[in-house]
Structures are given as C-alpha cells and as structure tokens.
Point group: C2
Chain length 453, copies 2
C-alpha cells in the first residue's frame, strides 16, 4: 500500500524541509495512505466530534461563537452549539475553540501537542464549503495531523520550553497543509500557504489556565483556512518562512537545521499512529492510576466492599498537580488521585463529564473506598506510568501497572473511543456518528444531521 | 490642558507596564489630550486615507479583499476598493492591508514601525460599527498609536533585530487599546484584551519583500478588533501576558523589565508627535537627498537648464538599496538617487505615484539633469541625512542638507500632508476629506461618501 508514496525519506540531502513536506501533502496519492492511519484519523474524528459537542456550552465556546455569529457571513460550514452555518474561517475558529474547551481531546507526545483540535476544524470547514467527500476530508485531516506532528517534533522540546504552545503553532502549519490538500493547491501555491502561515502563527503557554488555551486551537484552525485560501488566490509569501534566517523556527526557539530525522519515513510511516486519546474526563495525571486500578479490578472481579487498602505509586511531579486528598467540588474531584481511584474501583464511568460533579465528593460508597487509598512516589517511574497495590479483606494483594505510552491494539482503541463518545453523546448518537464517518462517498459533515435530532 | 491626565509618569515603582498603559487608555479624559497630538492624528488619518485609496488596487489588497467579501457578513464598516461594508474584523483586515500595500504610510522611528496602518483601520471599523463620532474615533486612534509607539519602544531594537515586524506586533497591542477605548472597556476588561492580544500577535521580517509585509498591518488590525471584542464579552486571558515570565516580551526578544523609561511622560507628552510622513513615492533612502535638493532649488530659484554638476552625499548603507544609476522602469526609478534627484531639481511631483512611470526613465529633460548627478558616501552622516552640492553653469555652488528626523513645524507638515493627499486623491477630494476629518461631531467614516462621488 505504500508503493506510490513519494520517497522523500530517501532524500537525506533534501534541500528544504518545506519542499519535502509540501511534496508529501500535494503528491501523496490516496492509495498510498495506509488503512491503519485512516482508521486512526476516523477515531480521532469521532473523539473530536464528541469533545466538541460536550465543550460547546463552555463559556469560552459561547464567547467566540457569539462574536462569529455577530459577524455572520456566507453560510459555508456547520458550527457546534447553534443551528447555524458560517464562513469557513469563522467555523474553524468556533469549532477549534469548542473542541479544546474541556482539554479532553487527543494528544501526540511526539510534539507535546493536540493535533485534532487545530487540524480537523480547519479541514472540515473547508471540506463542507467545497463539498468534499468524507473520504477526501479524512485524507486531508490525516495528512494535516501528520504534518503537525512532524513539524512539531522538528521544532521540538526547545520550542515548547521557550514558551510556545505547539497546538497553536505547529497546529497552524499542519492545518494549513490539510486545507491546501483539500483546495488542490499545487506545490508552489502550497509553499506560499505554508510561508504565510509562518508569519501568522502564534500562541503562548503563558495563557494556560485561561480561555486563551482553547482559543489557540481556534486561532490555528482559522489561520490555516486564511493562509491556504489567500495562497490559492495568488498571495505571495516567503515560501521558506519556516526554515530561513529569521524565519519561524529561528525566531521561536526551534531548531532551524537537522530536519533529516523528522522526514524519516515520511509517506511510509505515520506519527499520527502514536496519538493518545483521553479516556477519563479528569486530569491527565490521574489516567495511568485509573487504568492500572481498572486492570486490578478486572483481574479479580473485585467488589468495592472487599477492598481493604490501596497504594498508588506515581512520579513525584504529579503531587503538586492532582493530589487533592478530600475534594469538595466536581472540579477538585478531577484533580484527586484518591477520589478518582475510588471511582475506578467502583466502576464509575470516568469517561463521562457528569461523573465529576459535586455530589461525587460526598457519595458515601465512594468515600468508603477513597479513605483506604494512599499515594506514594517513585522518581524511577515515567510520568506517564503508575503502579498500584490493592489489598483485599482476605489479605491478598493485587499488583497492576500502566503506562499511557504503551501502544493500544486497534480493536481496543476503537472500543474505547466509541465508549467515550457514547458517554458524551449517548449510545445511539455515538453509533450513528461512527457509522456516518464510515460513509466515505457522502459529503463531509453529513454527520451533523445525526447530532441535531 | 494636561491637568486631568493620570500621572502615571510619576509612578516610578509602577508594578505593571500593563496596568499603567491600561490606566492611560481607559481613564484619560478627552480634555487631557493635547490639541497638538489631535492635529497629528488628524494628519495621519488624512495620510492614511490617501495611501489606502492609492493602495487598494494593489494585488495583495485585492486578494485579501476578495477573501473577506467571499466570507461576507453583517455590514458594519466600510472598506476601500469596493462599494461594500463588512464586519468590523474583516474591514480592519482589508483596510490595514490596503493602507500598507504601497509602503507609503507614516513611520515612527521611536519603535521602527508604521503606527497608522495597524491602529487606524481597527479603530475606524469599530467606530463605524458602534456609531462613534469623528472626535471619539480620533481620540481612540491617537491613544492607540501612542500605546503602539511606547510598547514598541519598550520591546525595542532587540525585538526588531530578533526578526519581528513591529508594525504587526506592537501594532496589535496599540490597536487593541484603541478598540478597547472605543468599546468603553473598564480597566479589568481592557487588561484581558491586551493579554489576549499578546498570544495572538505575530509578524516576521523574513516576509519583507512579499505580500506578507502589508498583510501584517491587516493582521494586526483584525487581531485588535477580535481581542477587544472577545474581552468585552467576558473572555478571560492572562492579563499580564505582555510582561510575565514566558509572556510576549520574554518570548519575542524584547526586554521584560525596565519599563520606567517608556512610561515617562505618559499622558503628558506624546511620542505620536515624532511620526514622520512619507512625502515621496519612492525608496525612503532617496527622501533626504530629494528634500535637500528641493531646498537648493528653492534657495536660488534654480532652472534645470542652469545646472552643471550635482553631488549627493549619503550614508554608505544606501548604496546597495537605491543607487540604480540608469533606471529602465518605473519601479527602478524609485530606487535611483540620480533620477529622483533630477525629478527634484526639475520640480516633478515626487509625491505622486504616476511620476514614477517607465516614461520617466527616458524623459530627455530628466536625463539631461540625471547625467550630471554623482553619488558619494560619508560614514559620518546619519542614515536619515543627506548633503548636496549643486553647481550652476556660472560656477557657483549651492550647498544644502536635510535630516528626515528634524522636527517639522506644524503648519508645514499640514501643508505637505495635504499636498500628498492631493497628489493621490486629487485636490478637490483631498480638501473635502480634510474638511470632513475636522467635523468632530459627525459619525466616524462619514468621509467615505466624499471618496465615492
């Protein structure tokens, strides 16, 4: 299935990262895109729709949506949260923001960013505007998320540590390429789009903890529609803006050389396949212990009333993040190792937002387990890993561990993403949306009708 | 006239640059704004309108305008180049781009940027949308250009040398403050607007020489409308995003301390008053010699046919920029010391775009003078200065010199800006627009009707 992919990985003396990326975007034939990557993109799409629907009532989503609706314009693309269609740029901004509002979307540790929330809203808005099929849209989104991950990995840890939010910056570049693919830009036009994106991209981590963070996803998506649309109309930029002297990498703490690594396997292997979906509607730090406890519970068909003592071991960096021992509110519950452990051991649906309500903090059955949980640390553990020891009343101890980076088999991932979508959308709607995503020849976005009845 | 200005300049222990700026923006009463600064703002507005009209047919202006018109939306603000009104964000982008398309707009060397092209389109679009008066709009624009210049001066040369285009970056901050003033935001909301602007602002000098440069002005103007509009609706940002750790200054090569200097005199003296308007439609490097030659010509009522020899002395940095000895096209003519000197000595209107046509390169009267001009360099000269020696056929030599940074008396500046507007718009329209700008109680933008008949 990879026979027709452009062999850019072989060009070790490649003169330009931009040229290699654009060649991949423009010239990769549909047949060369592996089914495993398409499947991952479809799962990320289902996940994205579910978190965007759930996030569309958040205050930041409403504020951005109201501005866009006040501006109005040619109805070209669907938005979440209102029965309205807006111009593609506006819809990309609204949907990007809504989908990152809960911070419940997917993550790629390859570049420390959230690929779907920038790329999917940009690609979907333009796909709806141009009448592209589901299949064409999925391909563009897949390619855009791949470019985001690869450029993000090249800009790297230094870029992130310098203060930039990769979801916004690399997200702009990858989503610009997704839109370029959908608009059918040639190599030259696609390079001008990318060059323009380098002078438009922005987003600072110093806005984390504010509405700025989810808005970054909307900015990236809107920037992408704008850059590719302008380039398609003849806009001339410096097409080497990513890598040139005082270009984006140079001015934003990234590396400006050494792109051979990040082009390795471009067109044949997909960094998209290392995307992680979030399966619990609480702080990422609690996810590894929840997974380990679920394994422990399943291994012995353990009943909550049989539990005598629970020890959770995590990397010490998490103690300052999510170790509220006796949370009092739903928000605090999301940052409590002990309470989320009790939820996991009693079989609560930690994928549902409603599980984390104020009442959960005073639920006697949960508190009975919570009060048997203690947290300890081990600097030898990765910060994506946890170990748990669960002792039952008979004195027997079950050990389990989990690392979020452990690859998940395709079937299991599908089951779990669909279960998350069901928790957020309801079983019936989640199933209908998943079926709609599979209807390749239909117009992209046709699943919105499913969401509306 | 300064009695009511907030005395932020006295707060040498000011805890926050942002707080001081926002206090100036929100709390400065109309009466505290000096007439000299208002006059400068009115001149910059006339200049801005003239260059925006002239620039609205440039390819970049059309490309951006077509995108905005394709998106459409609620008609709130007028655009140049088409009989159409668009949402304020869109109009700000279209008009910002058009006004910077010819690079013929004003400059403030205090921060190496072009203040009007970012601030005026943002303020004007929102003033039209909200029905603000000319007077309220001029105040907001004045305040926005002042903030742009001061934050720009604080970010400083290092920010510019790191690769950032101050017109785009500091321009976003000042225009956000102009819109905040027009929307009547309180201090808290205005700070959130500025915080949001810090994570939205972008613009790289590596796009100079492409359509990216004029588009930067449109980006800044649109960013400003967006940031202040979202903040007015309750958007929560990190309001210290300009100065905080990993905030804008920290991540963009700017200084993050030492803001006392830049607050000196805030509310009492206006850096806006050091704005330079461009009076010649050619490379900035040719402006000082043109001015000096005009003085030489006027001092003796010199006829072109009397000229025997002309020596121009400039800083050597200009030799690689605008010393095409025998230009062949209108564009090359703009980069020719010798031909522009001939234009100045024959009384051509170097303020008019049409003067720099292909025919000017073969005009026998011009060539007769051009061929008597030579260029020499002196490293002791400032790069904004020139000296000229003009020898007549009787053997007498006239010496004249000019430095662009020499302050220009108010009356002379008004005469010259109005002459430039007349060269670009025609005498009658230029006069009508200037009169319209003076009608303080009318709705902002009412001059567009004058431009349309």
């Amino acid at each position: 299935m990879t026979m027709s992919a452009p062999q850019v990985a072989d060009r070790v003396d490649s003169p330009s990262l931009t040229e290699a990326i654009v060649q991949f975007v423009v010239d990769t034939p549909s047949e060369a895109l592996p089914e495993s990557a398409r499947h991952m993109a479809r799962l990320s799409l289902l996940d994205w729709i579910a978190v965007a629907v759930a996030g569309s009532d958040e205050p930041v989503s409403k504020i951005v949506r109201n501005m866009a609706m006040d501006d109005g314009g040619t109805p070209a693309a669907t938005i979440f949260g209102e029965q309205a269609r807006l111009p593609a740029r506006a819809a990309a901004m609204v949907n990007g923001t809504a989908s990152h509002a809960l911070d419940y979307d997917d993550t790629n540790f390859v570049y420390l960013g959230h690929p779907s929330v920038a790329v999917i809203p940009a690609a979907l808005a333009v796909a709806e505007k141009t009448g592209a099929t589901v299949s064409d849209f999925i391909e563009a989104a897949l390619i855009g998320m791949e470019v985001t991950s690869r450029i993000g990995a090249w800009l790297g840890q230094l870029h992130y540590e310098a203060g930039f939010h990769q979801t916004a910056t690399s997200g702009t570049f990858g989503s610009t390429m997704a839109v370029a693919r959908l608009l059918g830009l040639d190599r030259e036009r696609a390079q001008h789009a990318l060059g323009l994106a380098t002078t438009r991209a922005s987003g600072l981590k110093s806005q984390f903890g504010t509405m700025g963070k989810p808005f970054h996803a909307g900015m990236a998506a809107a920037n992408a529609v704008e850059a590719a649309t302008l380039a398609s109309a003849g806009f001339v930029s410096n097409p080497q803006g990513l890598t040139c002297s005082q270009g984006f990498a140079d001015t934003h703490g990234g590396q400006s050389t050494g792109h051979a690594d990040v082009l390795q396997g471009l067109g044949t292997t997909y960094k998209l396949e290392s995307v992680l979906h979030k399966f619990h509607a609480c702080c990422h730090g609690t996810h590894a212990p929840i997974e380990a406890l679920a394994k422990a519970r399943a291994s012995r068909d353990l009943d909550a009333t049989d539990i005598d003592d629970v020890k959770i071991t995590v990397h010490p960096r998490w103690l300052g993040v999510c170790n509220i021992p006796s949370p009092a509110t739903g928000l605090e519950a999301k940052f409590s190792f002990r309470l989320t452990a009790a939820m996991a051991l009693t079989g609560a649906d930690t994928g549902a937002l409603t599980t984390f309500d104020d009442a959960s903090c005073t639920d006697t059955a949960l508190l009975a387990v919570r009060d048997r949980v203690s947290v300890q640390t081990d600097t030898d553990l990765s910060d994506t890993a946890a170990q748990v020891h669960v002792r039952d009343r008979a004195g027997e101890t079950i050990f389990a561990e989990h690392d979020l980076l452990t690859p998940m088999p395709r079937a299991e991932r599908e089951t779990r993403v669909r279960a998350k979508a069901a928790a957020l959308l309801g079983n019936e709607v989640a199933d209908s949306v998943w079926d709609a995503i599979g209807e390749s020849a239909k117009p992209a976005g046709h699943w919105f009708t499913t969401l509306r009845h």
